[in-house]
Symmetry: C3
Subunit: 475 residues, 3 copies
Amino acid sequence: MGNCCERAANFFGPQKNTYIRVSLPAVCFVWQIAMVVLFGVFIRYDEESDEKGWNEFKKSHNITSNIENDFYFRYPSFQDVHVMIFVGFGFLMTFLKRYSFGGVGFNFLIAAFGLQWALLMQGWFHALDPVTGKITIGIESLINADFCCAGSLIAYGALLGKVSPVQLMVVTLFGVTLFAVEEYIILDLFHCRDAGGAMVIHTFGGYYGLAISWVLYRPNLNLSKRLNGSVYHSDLFAMIGALFLWMFWPSFNSAITNHGAGQHRTVINTYLALASCVLTTFAISSMSQKKGKLDMVHIQNASLAAGVAMGTAAELMITPYGSIIVGFCCGIISTFGYLYVTPFLEKKLKLQDTCGIHNLHAVPGMLGGFVGAIVAATATEEIYGKEGLIETFDLTGKFENRTMSTQGGYQAAGTCVAIAFGLVGGVCVGFILRFPIWGDPADDFCFDDEAYWEYCFAQFMSHIVVYYQLLEALS
Amino acid sequence: MGNCCERAANFFGPQKNTYIRVSLPAVCFVWQIAMVVLFGVFIRYDEESDEKGWNEFKKSHNITSNIENDFYFRYPSFQDVHVMIFVGFGFLMTFLKRYSFGGVGFNFLIAAFGLQWALLMQGWFHALDPVTGKITIGIESLINADFCCAGSLIAYGALLGKVSPVQLMVVTLFGVTLFAVEEYIILDLFHCRDAGGAMVIHTFGGYYGLAISWVLYRPNLNLSKRLNGSVYHSDLFAMIGALFLWMFWPSFNSAITNHGAGQHRTVINTYLALASCVLTTFAISSMSQKKGKLDMVHIQNASLAAGVAMGTAAELMITPYGSIIVGFCCGIISTFGYLYVTPFLEKKLKLQDTCGIHNLHAVPGMLGGFVGAIVAATATEEIYGKEGLIETFDLTGKFENRTMSTQGGYQAAGTCVAIAFGLVGGVCVGFILRFPIWGDPADDFCFDDEAYWEYCFAQFMSHIVVYYQLLEALS
Amino acid sequence: MGNCCERAANFFGPQKNTYIRVSLPAVCFVWQIAMVVLFGVFIRYDEESDEKGWNEFKKSHNITSNIENDFYFRYPSFQDVHVMIFVGFGFLMTFLKRYSFGGVGFNFLIAAFGLQWALLMQGWFHALDPVTGKITIGIESLINADFCCAGSLIAYGALLGKVSPVQLMVVTLFGVTLFAVEEYIILDLFHCRDAGGAMVIHTFGGYYGLAISWVLYRPNLNLSKRLNGSVYHSDLFAMIGALFLWMFWPSFNSAITNHGAGQHRTVINTYLALASCVLTTFAISSMSQKKGKLDMVHIQNASLAAGVAMGTAAELMITPYGSIIVGFCCGIISTFGYLYVTPFLEKKLKLQDTCGIHNLHAVPGMLGGFVGAIVAATATEEIYGKEGLIETFDLTGKFENRTMSTQGGYQAAGTCVAIAFGLVGGVCVGFILRFPIWGDPADDFCFDDEAYWEYCFAQFMSHIVVYYQLLEALS
């Protein structure tokens, strides 16, 4: 059987360069040991997860019930976000007929590394105690760490099937680092609101992945064309991912918004926008084919674009019909993107974007940033109440006197920062990934789990071989 | 390859009538634009999701903590219900070997449309402010909207594989409308309790679907017989749907029950009934086959019947062993239904019920309505406490003096109303769907994703062709 | 077609002994009726789920808000645990190419029975009211019942594909009984802390399954070797189970820990350990193969070992970096187990462990027990605060004066009790299962759904037959 496996594997030419027996374990071990050391030096429980700290916190804040612990406000949303990161993103990327292991497996690896590194990077920028020099973490840190991974997982969508797991670890290392910096600029310096990360997660992640993919352009990728597609059941696996993303997106956008009405409203807005997006996605998908048939790629992807585009505005008073309008437009824009823009980018800009993250993350994220800017600029005390306006935009301290139009301007500027970080960071990381040491597959060996997974595809391939031999014999 | 696709597609005869390139986009766009307008006119945030409103609400109700926002009582259950609607119902309907895209995809479409229309319809009947003329929505509205969709999704179960997506939109439009009316009669006028919707969701949805299917009877459906069945992996996909329904049914029944002991008890009752139901389902399934082998259809469906049948009674003091007895009976009744009643209905009543919703929703729902009536009629102050009885049955205002036996009578009457609405409404909608404009497939082209999905089954079919050619050649 | 099915089924020899048409229904019916009777005699709602009781409880405890009901502290975690039991364990066991129905289906059956029996057994030992003679149940009881099932489901992992469903019911009946006794000894008599069940669930369940499998050794199991493996899509189904287990393990470990900081900290610790474990699992998996390719078996299983190993210590102040170190070691140990220990056990100890529970549950569980002992022994008032130490270890009543080193000693002793109960109990149950009345499959008919599921594999098999015939003809 082993012999048969090997013969089958050689059928389409020799495997180049995909030897990762040294590099992958080395990267995993060294970086994980670094995590142990850095966590030992820096990371501690925050006062709501520390046994002693919480008892003191309750006394000092006159809290009588444990239900006031932030844990109970955030944990259900956290678990939904966690499912989106690992099952949502992971299974959405199983749609390729023979790269499903790589889709869900490498997603697992890079998210597991990324969230540790994110706790450190985000901690240094946002939660470093100047006195003790420690970072304290709680449930909100875990949600933010998952968010931070999402940026790199989005980038993976553009690279799916064309890079090695070692390269993906590098993408994640730099992706998380860049994320933490741009997030610091956008959320802290610019004092923008972006609870669902339309700017910091989706715009950044989208352009980061596209820039990397552009640098890593493969002129002969059509040699792997036969595998760059789905089969019936791989599309169903991808549908699992798509639906969990779609269903839990209200949790994604509301996970770190303000307690009470803030989380409540964010859920309503996201829920409505996503529902609306589904209908326009089906409409455009059906219109685009001569017999009106639907395309699974659109249903799996474009129907999610509204969640991205509501990332900033969902926590604001965008109104229910405002949300529906955003969803309406996103379904159209994103499906058009899959139909016309992705092929255009590939032909004209030499940009190969396997999952079409340009249409699902980059453009809707950018759109979401600007929608957020408009909704922020038009916010008034009449709508939010004096107290509500201050709470929603956190206009305290040195931002006390910021006007709403200024806020809107900063929101728009934040979107531009996210794009810039994505593009520039992506190009730099792309050049790093071009060193010939990472074990990436040859052009004729892309989109193939055979490269990195111990699995015998002989049975699968032999079926195809048999079929063609028979067709020939019968003709 | 395109040529090969076409040849393969023509193998079993020409495709009739399934051109939906105009009708589906038209329906999606027009109805979605109507939603935008109607939401703009009618829908606003309620006081717990409105920034200003919540701050005022807290002051006027002397609430100090945001955790008192209804959001934190309902959101975890809401997300479970959401998963049931989209992954539960969706994947349960992927069991057909070649209609999995249609099962999960059209479920997605009609639920996304249905929940928007449900927010409006239910709002007009239950939450229209007479002063402002606005409907205010919060987390409980979203749960109810999901519930309302469930009625139409159940109906889809009877129609699976035999209708076009445009027809399904029509089914949903009328289904949601009828639902809102019967719900208003049962819950408001009759003042019944039906938190999990045994009557309003399952009985109505079941008979609605059956009546439609009866009107749409296809005498030559056996021409599509070869596709009306499962393959190994499609049954596993369906098992994903079945398990998520089974696991989250306690959330379904408890999502809108009273805070505190009400939600708590509903979960316990539903959990126990479902567990009990699994054992009798396995028992009857094994007894029914000569070698004692189990049938996946029973396991996927009949084990859920207890959740349906507990829809009304779960929030009442039915006692743990009462719940187990209900589950015990449901497993038996539902499995017998799959074994004997569904074939009987098809042969004698000319009623084609693809998913067997008669056994999973219609009969258990009706049963649940009557169980609820009995448990309500036997409720006493001794069991509930004076305060508890008033709270549980909401006996305030003009219902202050209603006796428990009267309540029981109204519950029973409510079940009959649900049946009547389902049957009459379904027959009417069925006749509408018989107009030859909807793009439904011909009798020999049912249960086939080829009709509405851009997908090349040539590879799949060629395998079968090769196999038969070879069998012939060898014989 | 029936004829063809039968021919195909006889292809690899006659089916022996798998007639369960009498025994399975009998066991299901009789045991379920026993449940009805026992629940009727013993089980009642507790004061937080009883309508009258909760109103009285609120008054007597001066509680004004329903949010103080334990339901709101536990329900989100409960649902996550529920998903782990039914989808997590169920789908993890679908990895075999032709035993996926049995994996997920029998998991469903035994968990549904086990949780009812667990409510009774655990109730008698922990919650029997000496005055009324009743067991009162609430949300925590449901979580504990799910936990209790997990012990038997773990044991099923070692037996997967080699036993009949009737045998599995017997395994569960005794498994739950033994579990309740060892749990009583460890948690009540020894007064150990073991919120995530490293000892009581995983160590016990692991050794229980291994001991049964050892007694049921099948010398000719290699006759079924062709089916003891995965295919591409069955590995993806298993990945669904693995990911839901991985994502929800923080909920598993925190589901019954103390409110407030306790649950909060448990989640953080488990989350970090699991992330760390993924990286070392990938590293060792890659190192073990000559080309550095990854093995799905390791990714699906070894990456979960950290959750097991944190079962005891996660609720303690193990520190974030302590958690990461535990995860680091577990990934290495567990993957080595799959590579070297499982083959060794099979060859030398005649121990056939289908899912490798030795590496995923038995060893990590034992390790977790000892880690917990160390962390407990080193606990100080300085770290926990005086109040926190008493709360965390529940040092009240007769345990008021227990020192931390004594506590550590008891924790270690508890681990040994769990091992002893697993091994001795497993051997006894194994001998019971050797009676020739249970309908288990012959050695050449293992790992095959054909034995217990009404399903025609003719199509599947014919493809293989065709393939070999053609290969021969062409050579």
